[in-house]
């Protein structure tokens, strides 16, 4: 199988607290893979390990056939953190210039990519404004643009649509579909059940365990549930009975 992200038997604990236990999953190229689970379930820790920021306590993560963490692979990953990691004193453009330079984009290429990503997230008219005058949604979009600058093959997004209005959320998802069609593999976390339906593949995480995975359709059918939420409750309940 043509998988770009491969997580096998990964566990992670901070001091004595086990955050993730024995997680295995793989994400195919071009796929939009959603990690669904309540906050505190360990989603962020998992994607941080995939992005190369954290290291697993046990198990192995390979991205693009390379064991993570690897600085070489990190160049090919775009990461959007849960908090808007932006420099509020700087303007939107200056923020993008900074992140573009870190990924080695310069000169005309840098300007071109900044224009393209800013247009993609509808911020072209606001690039001169300092970020501390941005609304919450604008900051999220700028963070997304910053993650897209270097045309990453893999895009990792931690709760990208939190605090964004439904219209904008739709437009962010449309962008993600477009990127996916163009060959980008996308890993996204969410705790919003209906948003999970938009993903091609889903992994349900609860209390540090992967309780189910498959396409939203499969997950609903195999539990004869109407909604993803029901399916989540079903799988969550099964574990409790054990």
């Amino acid at each position: 199988m043509n998988s770009v992200i491969h997580v096998s038997n990964v566990s992670k604990s901070f001091s004595k607290h086990d955050v993730l236990q024995d997680i295995s999953l793989s994400v195919a190229k071009n796929e939009i893979y959603g990690l669904l689970g309540p906050s505190g379930a360990g989603k962020t820790t998992l994607i941080k390990m995939i992005a190369g920021i954290e290291t697993p306590t046990s198990g192995k993560i390979t991205v693009l056939d390379t064991t993570m963490p690897s600085l070489q692979i990190m160049k090919r990953i775009g990461f959007m953190a849960q908090s808007d990691a932006l420099y509020s004193e700087l303007s939107g453009r200056e923020n993008l210039e900074f992140f573009a330079s870190i990924y080695g984009l310069k000169g005309a290429k840098q300007r071109e990519r900044i224009e393209q990503t800013a247009a993609l997230v509808n911020l072209t008219d606001f690039l001169k404004k300092p970020v501390n005058q941005y609304s919450g949604g604008m900051k999220r979009r700028l963070s997304l643009a910053a993650a897209l600058l270097h045309e990453p093959e893999i895009l990792i997004l931690d709760e990208p649509t939190v605090g964004i209005d439904p219209v904008l959320r739709q437009s962010v998802w449309n962008e993600l579909y477009k990127l996916s069609e163009n060959g980008t593999t996308i890993l996204v976390t969410t705790h919003v059940m209906d948003e999970a339906e938009k993903c091609g593949q889903l992994g349900m995480i609860r209390d540090g365990r992967l309780i189910a995975s498959g396409s939203p359709q499969q997950l609903k059918e195999s539990t004869s549930s109407e909604t993803i939420e029901d399916a989540f409750l079903y799988y969550g309940g099964v574990r409790h009975e054990n």
């Binding site: 990190m74 990461f79 908090s83 330079s101 870190i102 080695g104 910053a146």
Partner: protein, 345 residues
Amino acid sequence: MRIRALVKRIIRQFKRDKRTLAMMFLAPLLILTLVSLVFSGNDYEPKIAVISDQQPVADQLEKTDKAFTFYESSSKAEDDLKNEKLDAILYVNPPSTKIMLEGSNPTANKAVMTTVDKALKAMSPLSDQLKTLQPKVDYLHGSPKMDSFDYIGPFLIGFFIFFFVFLISGVSFLRERTTGTLERLLATPMRRWEMVAGYVIGFGIFTIIQSAIIVSFSIYVLDIMMKGSIWYVILITLMLAITALSLGTLLSAFAKNELQMIQFIPIVVVPQVFFSGLFNIDTMADWLQPLSYIMPLTYGGQAIRDVMIQGDGWSQIYDDVLVLAGFSLLFMVLNTLALKKHRKL
């Protein structure tokens, strides 16, 4: 390339945060000016009692300067001196002249000496013998060794630079962590040492400006004693600033928020004041003395004073500069290691 991006970003952020820039550049100037005014006010008018068996001499002294007052009884004058109503008593009994200084205030001592010196030189040929006489000086308190701003100024320059750079760089680096931008940077291929180097260079540019402003202000405006080369002083303060910068960013790894960063001041910054040379290290308890060797401000403070007061050159200060460079390098390496807590690679 990545370091340059970081340096450029820091410069831009600084330009937007005018208040922090003002604190870094102007706050030390304000405090130095206050200290300079307190310790060396030029307008101090001394009160000097004149005791003399020759009435005309006393009268003439009273005429030359209103600082002088004729006292008939020397015991009354001595009482007033003890009660700090007088700064000095001048005994003029030719052929001997004697000055008794109150002595606890260096500024007053200086003012008395200048006034007496001037008055005696201005005396008419009538008392020609007085001109050639060098008055004998006695102290009620203190000693002639006591000095004022000239003496403590060099340390204060070093100390304020250290203090403000430590605080500002520490808080900035801390904010990088609390706002999530550090994590964001760690998701990029930027190496840990590149991050530390970028910070040192970015802030370093502003500390060069800061050092130049503070040192020139002290020398040209506050008129602090300056025997050596201003370039050496700027070099030493710059090295001290980079030490403070690397120490501040290192320690910010162990603070959870800005308040905890400020809590490092009494632990890390204040103790250095006692070892910087502002107070005499030799008179300290024996077990305390070795502590001065691990304090960066000891080396910086001594070197600045050596240049400013003794006029020392490169051959006398290079070892202090090297020690400061060593401290900076050590703190930078430790900071690179401390960042491992956030990303192993």
